[in-house]
Symmetry: C2
Subunit: 100 residues, 2 copies
């Protein structure tokens, strides 16, 4: 059993914490196919202020879950790594089992 160093695990936990919010999880799901989406598309669909969406995107970016790309007037977001989609698969697996 390895010793428990709180500080180390705190920073790591931020990664999962970022995924632990309904709006942010929804955003990540929209990108799970690997395609990019413009910020404005998220704003159109979610019923929250555009500044709120921007904050959520910023949290996901800091957690290295998404990366952004500014082109022209707009900003486009993509998964930082294909393995993120794998996280969702694991989640969805457990949900299926929950039914039976």
């Amino acid at each position: 059993m390895k010793p428990f160093k709180r500080a180390e695990h705190s920073s790591h936990a931020a990664f999962f914490k970022a995924l632990g919010h309904p709006t942010r999880l929804w955003i990540v799901r929209q990108l799970a196919d690997g395609k990019e989406q413009c910020v404005c598309e998220f704003v159109d669909e979610a019923k929250v202020d555009f500044s709120t969406i921007s904050q959520h995107l910023s949290i996901l970016k800091q957690a290295r879950i998404l990366v952004d790309d500014k082109r022209g007037k707009s900003v486009y977001y993509t998964l930082a790594c294909p393995c993120i989609a794998g996280l969702l698969d694991c989640l969805d697996n457990r949900l299926e089992k929950e039914i039976k």
Copy 2:
């Protein structure tokens, strides 16, 4: 773009939320090799009250991340599914990249 149904994503987010705490993440890491651990072993190593550990374990169980097994006087915990270890791999991948 799929419509944003908050309630649905809220319950799903609980899964990641459970991983978003230093102590809980540490616990899951101790089990990542697939072996079981007794509650008392976590208590010995972490510097928090045993009731606190128990609460964290309960959260992880509810999120279907761990399963428990009572044998004799003790309770043993294991990963609910090998794919949980994969989540940690994804996390650790991004940490490596962070260094360079």
